[in-house]
Structure formats: C-alpha cells, structure tokens
Symmetry: C2
DNA sequence: GGCTTATGAGTAACCAGTTTCTAACATCGG
DNA sequence: CCGATGTTAGAAACTGGTTACTCATAAGCC
C-alpha cells in the first residue's frame, strides 16, 4: 500500500494478532460511547435510546429510566456530527464580516453571539478582510456548514450577491441594503445621520467641511458621502481619502489642516479620533480651531479629549435583530421587511462654533 | 438476502398513488446533488467519485475527467455533514472567550481567525460572559463540534479545568497557565510588565499608588495585583475595585482622588482610559497631578489625551501562535512547551514626575 | 368474548460520505 | 505460455444517529 493514507492518524497497533477491530481509523474519539452501546447496555433498541435522548413522550417511564441510567453510566452524549447528517441541520449560524478589528462589527458579533447562544446555537465567524471575492467564497463555505447566515456590510457587488443569493438563503443583511435580493436587511439611515451632523455643524456656523472618506468598497461610505454632498449645497466640501482605522485618521491630519476646513466629518469614530489626536499634535485646537465629528458611537468615542460628537447606531441591537430575523427565516416565516435604524446625534465636546475668520 | 443493498437508489413512489415524495423531512437542502447522483451521471461508483473529489491518484485520467464533468454539471459539492461523520473531523476549531467586547480577546480572535482561515479551517466562537460554570459547559459543547479548542483567559478554577481536561483535548490555553493541565499555554509575564511599570513610576518619584482592579475571576488581575504588591515594598498601595471596561474606570475616578495617590495603575487600558477622562473631568491634571498607566496596549491607547503609558502585549501573535500549537497537537505532535511573552513598556504622555507635595 | 383502537417499542431504511476488501484486468518475468 | 505482480474500480461495510413503518400487546366497546 502506498503511504497516501497516512493522514496523521497513528495506527497504534496493527499487530498481526488481529483483535476484532482495535482502532479502525481516525473517527473514534477514543472510546466515546455510541448509541448502540447504550442500547445494548439498557437492553433496548437504538430507536428507543434516540427517543429518550430527544425527550419523545412515547416511551414508558421504566424504559426512560433504564436508558437514562445506561447513558449516564457510559457518559454518553449523542454525536453532533451524526445528528447533523441525520437531521440535516447544524445547530450553527455563521457571521461574515469584512474586518474583525472594527468595533462596528464587534458590536454585531456580540449581539449575535449572545442571542444565538441563548437559543442554544453555535456561531461560526469568518473575516473576509475586505476582499469581495473572498467574501463570496467564505459566505458559501460558511453557509454549507450552518443553517443560516448573517452578512455584515458585505463588500461584494450587488449583482454578485444576487447571483448566489439562493444558495445563501436563509440569510440576513446587516449594514447594507440590496434591492433585488430576497433577504431582509437591517441597515442604518446614513443619510439621516449625516443630515443631523451637517445641521449641527452649519448651526455652529461652519461652511467649509472636510470629509475623511472610508474604505472604497464600503457601501456605508458611499451613502455617507452622497448624503454629505446632497446636504451641503451651499457648503464647500473637500473629500480626503482616508480609511477606517485610527492610524488612517491620524495620518490625514496634515491634509485636513492643508485644506482649510473648519469642520471635519469623519467616516467613522476611529478615523475621527485619529484625526483629532493628529490635529492636536499639530497644535490645532479642537473645537476652537476645528470641529470634528465621527460616526457609529464606539465605546471609545466618549473617552477622547474632547469627547467626540458623533452619531449613535445600535450595533448590538442589530446583532440581536439579525438573530430574530434569521430565526424567523429558518422557521419558514417571512423574516419581515427591511428595517432602517435611525441614528441619534450625540453632541459632545469635539464640535463648537466656527472660528470667526 | 435482505434489502441491505438499497444504497441510495430511490424507489421514488412506493406509496399508493401518492405524490412522489413531496418533502420527506428536513435534511434535503432543496435538490442538492449527492455523491450518488454524480456517480450515476458519470457512470461510476460512489467510491470513485469520492476518490476523485479527494484527489486520490489511483483513478484513471479518463474517469477523473468524466467525474469532474458530472460534478460540474450537477453543481456538486460534498456534504460537509457527511464528511464530518465519515472522517471524524470537523474542519473547525473553537475559541472561548469571557468577553467579546474586550480588545484583548478581539486581538486573539483576529489572529486566530486569520491563521485558521489561511489553513482552511472554520472558527467557532463562544462567549462565556465571565461565568466559570457556563464557560465549562460552552467549552465542552464547542469541543464536540470542533477538532480543537482555544481557551482564552478561562475563568474556571484550575481543578475544574483539570477535571475536564481530557475531554477538551486537544486544546491550548491563552492568557493563563494551569500547572497540572496537559495543554500548552501562551501567557503574558504580567509580573514583568508590572515591574517595568513600577520601576518607571518610582523612577519618576511616585510613592503612593492606586490599583484599579480588574474582574475578580481574572487570573491576569490576580497576577498583576500580586506583582504590584511584591514590587512595592516601600510603596503605599491602595487597591480600588473597578472592572475591565471604560465605564468602570470612569466611575472609579472620584475614589482615586479620594485615596490621594499620585499614580494610578489600571488593570488594563480601558479602565485606565476611563479613569483618565474621569480625572480630567474632575479637574485633575494628567500627568501633572496624577500619572496613569494601563496594560495591554489596545489600539486606542495611543489616542487618548494624553496618550496612555502602557505595557504592550502581542495579542494577535497569541492568536496566531495558538493556531500553530493547536495544529501541532491535532497532528499528534507535542504542541511545545508553555510560552510566556515578555510585555514591552511603552512610555507615553500619561505619566510624569510625581508632584512635589 | 370478539373486534377495534391505542400505545409502546423494534426493524430497517434512510442521511451522504469514506475506506477496506476484493475481483477483474493488464503487465511482466521466467 | 503461465504464474506473479500491479493497477483500477466496484461492492459493501462502515461513521452514529433519526424516523417511517410494522407489529405485538393491552385496553375499550358492544
């Protein structure tokens, strides 16, 4: 025999003595009890053991007790792998995010994890690293190993999502809406958030704004930018390429100074915080010289100096709701309509009156 | 002979005029192709299809082509559930953390997710919510659905872990060492980190320290506190119960002022940041009046005002290493010895000379 | 008391793969 | 030309549960 089968399993004793079947191959988790052994020990059929383990009411109390005792004695627990195959469900749901380092997705992760955990479901997590095609592959793969999917802020183009939508179902979209797709989506009214921010800033007398743009593939970034353009007909707007992390914002500080804006609208709280620190390092007063706003209200935003004016979005709530929707879909219900959460403006210390020129 | 040969051929309708078989039960994912259908289409046996799908070299090129074509035509992909059962492995690893909202664990999550993803493994995540017994149950459950575990900062008592250690294997411990346990651990030399901090603070003339304590169950907290007590024989140390989140630190600010310490050692960066903001709100100058240090070096620590002096630990590296160790263990190798990472002191702006009384 | 109905539990057919064994066939050496 | 050896691919036995049938028994009814 060629050694091609040597897949890591240590064939302990393949001795010529030939005991019945010492250790066939890998599967056996070291003598774990099987349903057959329990059935034998209790003197009943495998079907009866299965019924007892699943709490079927059609078993006599006496047998229930016997099976329970045998299962206990053998330390038996049904094999999840076998149940998956037999039942056709996994007891697992999956979450795909572009970036696990982003508090936005961490919030969804937490909410989803807790809601799914409470319902006794396990959670598979995968990070697509902002790569659209990778994301599609991960999603398909994850879906095959779960009963349902939550796609957070998917970077894949709408038509690509539609083309695989059927194989992804049931699934829920978070932080994005895709019209043609037959999946409920939970999203943020980015335009409303931006309008609130702009109203706040113009109310303070700001006329020259800079926008620290998020990642190019982000739908949220596109919406926020579009809303900013729409909301600011009489304003002067400079768009600075930036990113989504602290360092991106920090690195953009000189450009902010260079463009002469009196107020900076950050794509999110991280770039805003980074820019805030960067500006102060350059000797720019916040908010005396320049006002700064963020987006998302990450836990940290309250603890910058000065605290960041931002727009709050219910991150964990999205996770919880995503579970609710997914649960409904998995039960064949409708999953409900799309929801757009209204963000809430939080005015803190990083914004102030525009400096009189 | 009994009908035991009924290997997958569906005797479509044996019922009296009933419909073919509308929807037997759950399993069928709406007409997904099975290995039997592919075998039939290609005119070969199921065994051959299996061999082709797994790249076995013992199939003639002609058959390989035929099977490939049939699989392609039917859009066939092997059922992960069936493979799990047949192979006895899941292609999945699991991570248990006490709190998904903590950047410390997010770092491990990221590192692990990326390393496992690169190796084509999926990642199951569960949050124990700081509850020791819950954690044990989650770990056992997660282990049964995966090939290996990473336990981050487990809250469960050492003897409890030892008692279930065998059923958890293979697994790796992160942020904690448990002597009796036969699992490699990747931990931080908390004592060294604390010593560095204390040396730095005493070098600046501080003699009265306050420690913002972490969660009671945390092993890291116990180590840091013990090291602090040991490192400060000539110092006055006040221990303030606190927690691990921003708000905990913020709420502790008045107590800090009350105890008269000139330097605050936070359990981690979050409580330190919270305290920093709280102190400044109370009119206390940092670092002029009070110095503050954190621990962990979360991404945010660089962006507080002033930036936080802290001790850096390689969070993502721990995740990557955890994967390496787990991978070795899953292959029957040793998994290597325990590793204690040496943290690195980062002096930033939140610490300064002790005020002359 | 015989017939119908309920009930409890066993039999065997699934779920969808993997792998051992075995048999047929081709190749090679003597 | 025949036996030994080497390949290939199929048959069938697994992986460990679930559940549709089936059947025996007991209870209910007339």
């Amino acid at each position: 025999m060629r050694a091609s089968t040597g897949n890591g399993d240590q064939e302990q004793d393949r001795d010529g003595g030939g005991r019945p079947r010492a250790g066939r191959r890998g599967p056996r988790p070291a003598g774990a009890a099987t349903i057959s052994r329990v059935a034998e020990a209790a003197g009943v059929s495998r079907a009866t053991v299965s019924r007892v383990m699943n709490g079927s009411p059609t078993v006599s109390p006496e047998l229930v007790a016997r099976v329970r005792a045998a299962a206990e004695a053998l330390d038996y627990a049904p094999s999840p792998a076998a149940r998956r195959l037999a039942l056709g469900r996994t007891g697992t749901i999956a979450l795909i995010v572009p970036d696990l380092g982003n508090p936005l997705f961490q919030g969804v992760l937490r909410g989803l994890s807790q809601a799914a955990g409470k319902a006794g479901r396990q959670l598979l997590v995968a990070e697509s690293d902002e790569d659209p095609e990778e994301e599609v592959i991960l999603a398909l793969e994850a879906r095959r190993n779960s009963d349902g999917l939550v796609l957070a802020s998917p970077r894949a183009p709408a038509e690509r999502l539609c083309s695989i939508g059927e194989r992804l179902a049931p699934f829920v979209l978070v932080y994005r809406e895709v019209p043609g797709l037959g999946a409920p989506s939970l999203s943020i009214d980015n335009a409303a958030g931006v309008r609130d921010l702009v109203a706040h800033l113009t109310g303070l007398g700001h006329r020259r704004l800079a926008y620290l743009a998020g990642p190019p593939g982000s739908a949220g970034n596109a919406e926020r930018l579009a809303a900013l353009r729409a909301a600011a007909p009489g304003l002067e707007l400079t768009v600075l390429p930036c990113g989504s992390m602290f360092d991106d914002g920090h690195a953009a500080a000189p450009a902010v100074v260079g463009c002469g804006a009196s107020a900076v609208v950050g794509f999110n709280d991280m770039v805003a915080s980074g820019a805030l620190t960067g500006l102060r390092e350059l000797g720019v007063g916040v908010p005396e010289d320049v006002s700064i706003t963020g987006f998302d209200d990450i836990p940290f935003a309250r603890y910058t100096t000065p605290p960041l004016t931002t727009v709050s979005i219910p991150k964990s709530e999205l996770g919880r709701q995503a579970w609710e929707r997914l649960w409904a879909l998995m039960n064949g219900e409708s999953g409900g309509y799309n929801v757009r959460y209204q963000p809430r403006l939080l005015v803190r210390g990083s914004t102030g009156p525009a400096p009189s020129r």
